[in-house]
């Protein structure tokens, strides 16, 4: 092939790529807007959703965006939102943060200045700092789904930001309360979490909570690289602390599951406590059935826990229909949708200032997991985190057993 054929070849490659990509359902623009079909001219109200649809959180956030879309569908099918006598359907406007701070900043800018939204949900992980400041400057109501407590995510300076689902600290307080009540022999604990910049903040907060609960923290926090090729060195370091238990304070399933597997393979049966957005069955899959034992799991994922709220039941029914029976992931974008729908109805307004003021005066709000409590002054420096009951599951020999709904509170 002659070199001057390159433009033709490149064009063909690009066209082929576009053809391949457009053939996947998740890639079309339609997937990011409401699927509710209606013949009558009815107004829609856009809510921005800043999600990490590509990059290392891509697969995970695609699922959580789908959950948010189901929440929007539920609200719309129940008649939508009536504000000042006008009926509205909610519509998600999704922008991809690409699992990077730069990408998330771009996505938030696009939502605010191009899409013109007044309310933003998300993003995930440690990317809030890219959104909270922008929302603060532009009076945009920001309902985050996760917070690693780094400066600028949620603190006294971010008055327009609320934590719609107080992960990860909510899971941690739930797990700690369960540990304290049920494992009196545990005296020393090792702490591990991703070294994503949150150790001096989230790490320091959980370390203090552990010490306040009467435990001795063995060694320093073992911070791992989220994208490490091998997690066995971290497992070896945790074992070397000689602690009675290891608490994986946050993080996703690949590192935590592999650390658990390596601890077990190295011959230790130390109690392993995981508190994050990962369902027990995924831990069993990654660590292996034999290795997934002596584990306490505190996560939002549903595995058939008894007494779910009616809204959660409906969410589960629809999600399982759309995923051929898959378990829910975390609802960290769906819960803010549900909370906003209540706030629109209560205030009879879409005005961000009105909603913000109303939310600041409230003490409780309904979440998919039951009644949520609005707190966080001591932890975040601002009383704008919605805490909710969390399910506690134990895993032994690869079998997950639901224990209780822990009414976890974040001080």
């Amino acid at each position: 092939m002659k070199r001057n054929n390159f433009p033709l070849l490149l064009t063909a490659v690009i066209l082929a790529a576009l053809l391949v990509l457009s053939s996947f359902p998740g890639c079309s623009a339609k997937s990011t807007t409401t699927t509710t079909a209606t013949a009558q001219p009815i107004k829609t109200y856009p809510i921005g959703l800043c999600a990490e649809l590509s990059g290392f959180l891509g697969a995970y956030n695609t699922a959580t965006v789908n959950e948010a879309q189901i929440a929007v569908d539920i609200v719309n099918e129940q008649g939508g939102i009536v504000v000042n006598g006008q009926n509205y359907l909610l519509k998600l406007v999704v922008e991809d943060g690409q699992s990077t701070i730069d990408g998330t900043t771009s996505a938030a800018n696009k939502l605010i200045f191009s899409d013109g939204v007044k309310i933003i949900i998300g993003p995930d992980a440690y990317f809030n700092s890219a959104v909270s400041g922008l929302c603060e400057k532009n009076n945009i109501l920001h309902i985050a789904g996760y917070c690693t407590m780094q400066p600028g995510e949620l603190d006294a300076s971010t008055t327009w930001t609320f934590l719609g689902q107080a992960a990860a600290i909510n899971y941690f307080t739930g797990a700690l309360a369960y540990l304290k009540a049920n494992y009196p022999n545990v005296k020393t604990v090792a702490l591990t979490m991703p070294d994503d910049g949150s150790i001096p903040f989230f790490g320091a907060a959980v370390q203090k909570m552990v010490q306040d609960a009467g435990y001795t923290v063995a060694g320093s926090i073992v911070g791992y690289n989220n994208t490490a090729t091998d997690f066995s060195p971290y497992a070896a370091r945790i074992m070397a602390t000689g602690a009675d238990a290891c608490i994986a304070c946050s993080g996703v399933v690949t590192p935590n599951g592999n650390i658990l597997k390596n601890i077990r393979d190295a011959g230790s049966n130390m109690l392993f406590v995981v508190c994050n957005s990962v369902i027990p069955s995924d831990y069993i899959k990654v660590a292996g059935a034999k290795e997934a034992t002596n584990v306490i799991d505190c996560s939002a994922g549903y595995i058939g826990n008894p007494n779910p709220s009616s809204m959660l039941q409906e969410m589960i029914r629809r999600y399982q229909l759309s995923t051929q029976g898959g378990p829910l992931v975390t609802l960290e974008y769906a819960n803010p949708v549900y909370e906003l729908a209540q706030l629109f109805k209560t205030t009879n307004s879409f005005d961000p200032q009105t909603i913000k003021t109303a939310l600041q005066k409230m003490t409780t709000i309904e979440t998919f997991y039951g009644t949520g409590t609005i707190s966080g002054l001591k932890t975040f420096g601002i009383n704008q985190a919605i805490c909710y009951p969390v399910p506690i599951t134990t895993i032994d020999n690869g079998v997950a057993t639901f224990r209780q709904w822990e009414p976890a509170l974040v001080p």
């Binding site: 054929n5 699922a63 994208t227 995924d282 899959k285 034999k290």
Partner: protein, 292 residues
């Protein structure tokens, strides 16, 4: 020295060997292509990822035995290597800019195609072997040992191939002097295709094994590619001995540094060490010095 410290050191030493074997496997494939074709194949990471996915899908959806699934993955990516050489690399040989653009195209298309076609669930290839071996105070999973032995075994085979077979010697000849090799009647296109097949097959083995040890995801090739580049630069681009030696160094740093510092510091220290070495040996530890 306490038992815990001994255990930590022994475990880290074993970790270093296991990690090094995987890094070297991937680094060798990359070096083959550079030596024979002069191509820096930045798409090597996604080829590794595709190898992992083929094995994963065959082992889970189709229900094949993981070993058989890995074998099919190796064959499939070997064939892909032929197509890669004939239709992607050969037309642009000698033009590094075009090669880089083509590699970016391959990365984008393959990674996004896999990403959007997968629903969220934790994806892992079933284990190739199970169980734990205990020697004294040290326990080690068979899975990790198998990864290590396969890595070392393939390494020996590749070195034997290069040094003892006719095609291997032809590869060395092409790498040393392409024009001279052509004049000697060596079919350079065939040798290039062979290098592509070996590189892709090695990536398939590494991807399949790591897809069982960790998890399978569309981005799994990104970080391993950075490791490969670290190894190549440190060892000297194009040097097989350099890959072996640098692979051991990077593997050792990856295994030992996390026991004293946290995750991101590990990466920073590793890069710092590499930069220091390059300050004194800019061509890499085993690279040839090029004089203007």
């Amino acid at each position: 020295m306490s038992d815990a410290t001994v255990l930590l050191l022994v475990a880290s030493f074993l970790n270093a060997l296991i990690l090094s074997s995987m890094y070297i496997l991937l680094g060798l494939g990359f070096t083959f292509l550079f030596n024979i074709m002069g191509i820096l194949n930045f798409a090597h990471g996604v080829i590794y990822m595709i190898g992992a996915y083929i094995c994963f899908i065959l082992a889970t959806t189709v229900g094949l035995n993981p070993w058989l699934a890995m074998f099919v993955s190796v064959i499939a990516l070997g064939l892909f290597g032929i197509l890669l050489e004939r239709f992607v690399f050969r037309p642009f040989l000698g033009n590094i800019n075009l090669i880089i653009v083509v590699c970016i195209g391959i990365i984008t298309v393959l990674k996004n195609a896999v990403s959007v076609s997968q629903t969220y669930s934790v994806q892992m290839t079933p284990p190739f072997v199970q169980g734990v071996i205990k020697v004294g105070i040290v326990s080690l999973s068979w899975e990790r040992l198998v990864i290590f032995f396969i890595g070392v075994g393939l390494l020996i085979l590749v070195l034997l191939f290069i040094n003892k077979t006719k095609q291997g010697l032809q590869m060395r000849a092409v790498a040393q002097d392409k024009e001279g090799a052509i004049l000697q009647g060596i079919n350079v296109n065939f040798i290039s295709a062979l290098a592509c097949i070996i590189a892709c097959a090695l990536a398939a083995v590494a991807g399949s094994l790591m897809g069982s040890y960790l998890t399978v995801n569309p981005y799994m090739g990104d970080d391993i590619m950075i490791k490969v580049l670290e190894i190549l630069v440190l060892g000297g681009i194009g040097s097989i001995n350099g890959v072996l030696f640098a692979g051991l160094i990077v593997g050792a740093m990856d295994a030992f540094l996390p026991i004293v510092v946290s995750g991101t510091q590990t990466q920073a220290i590793m890069m710092f060490v590499i930069v220091i070495i390059l300050l004194f040996k800019p061509q890499g530890l085993f690279g040839k010095e090029v004089r203007a």
